[in-house]
């Protein structure tokens, strides 16, 4: 039946929603949906030629049209979900592994917009932690050797398993990047 491929795609999107990482782009499936839609379009054109005389023809044109709309809806839902995921990754500042060049372009463009937007609020770190601050100073332990690291507020010598008592604002970035662990 028409729409079966599209249903598969939507199921795939639903499954990917709960995944940690971005799922692979369903190239094959999407291509077959687009092909199906094209076939339907051709079919509709052929039916439309004889001036809608027959009631049966009218019904067929209508149903063909509905099938195409259904396909469109499924494709858009899939892409929208992926776009949302990509936006989120852009905010988290992680580079996804993308195979579809449209998506690569989209991700780049969105990241550019984001950088643009962030630079207009220089004094606020918009992509920083969303957990409200509780303590001014915290203990941190180094879990990854990183040598000397220069932060905005001074120099740290990060040797593995050493411990620091530092201002939270200074090390938030390093915690995010996985060098430090909060105690």
């Amino acid at each position: 039946m028409y729409g079966d491929h599209a249903a598969k795609l939507v199921n795939e999107a639903k499954r990917a929603q709960n995944l940690e990482s971005l799922a692979l782009f369903q190239d094959e499936l999407i291509r077959s949906i687009v092909k199906e839609t094209k076939d339907l379009d051709r079919q509709k054109d052929m039916l439309g030629q004889d001036e809608f005389s027959d009631r049966a023809d009218q019904a067929q044109v209508f149903v063909t049209h509905l099938c195409m709309r259904r396909n469109k809806r499924c494709l858009l839902a899939y892409e929208k979900l992926r776009a949302q995921r990509l936006d989120q990754l852009a905010w988290e500042n992680t580079e996804p592994e993308l195979t579809n060049h449209n998506e690569i372009e989209y991700f780049k463009a969105y990241s550019d917009i984001l950088i643009d937007y962030k630079s207009s609020f220089a004094e606020v770190d918009l992509s920083g932690s969303l957990v409200p601050p509780k303590d001014v100073f915290i203990d941190v332990r180094v879990i990854k050797d990183a040598g000397e690291i220069q932060t905005e507020y001074g120099v740290f010598n990060l040797t593995k398993d050493s411990q620091f008592f530092v201002r939270k604002a200074d090390v938030e970035r390093l915690i995010q990047q996985g060098y430090l662990q909060k105690i």
């Binding site: 379009d41 949302q84 936006d87 409200p132 509780k134």
Partner: protein, 207 residues
Amino acid sequence: MSLPNSLKDTFSPAEIHFLTENELITILPRYSMNGLSLITTKLPKIRAMNRIQVPIWLALILKAQRKCNIVPPEWLNLKKLQDLYQFEVTTLESFSELPYNWLEISKIFFENASDDLADEVYKLKSLVQDLKEIRLIKIKKGLTLVNESHLQLDNLSLMEINEIRPFVVSVMNKLTDLTDAVAPEIGDQEVQEEYEDDDDDEMYEKE
């Protein structure tokens, strides 16, 4: 998106704690400090041994440095809590009058300022726990009354509301949708049709 899904419709407990920290509380300072005018609040001039109201976050910083004692609110003592508990037990339809952030305030006291409480901490803790539990039971009973239009939740604290928010809001939305679907208003129908027309136009343009 910019906001993770977990934060989209509700507060995290950390955020509620943060909101609570902006409330004022009375402290008994042990040293003097000049006032400060910050961009969000103006900190008053603090004089040693003079009671004064300051934001909770400042009280906690001073407490951590042992520079003040925090005065417990009037409801945080054995007698008052017992009265409240009695009220909860006897009145099954309503919740006792606790401040909207009582859970956070009591937690702050138990964790950071347990030496400032007049009564034994373990007794207070168990009373607070009892209150929390009986209120939770009442909330659960009240959930049988969830309907499509309204719900009355007098004296329920922010954290308690926050806990049931995802469930209650989604259920009420579903119920509203169902009720609307059974008896659609004329206005709604028109909007619906308009919307579908739009959709069609869009599709033809694409083609």
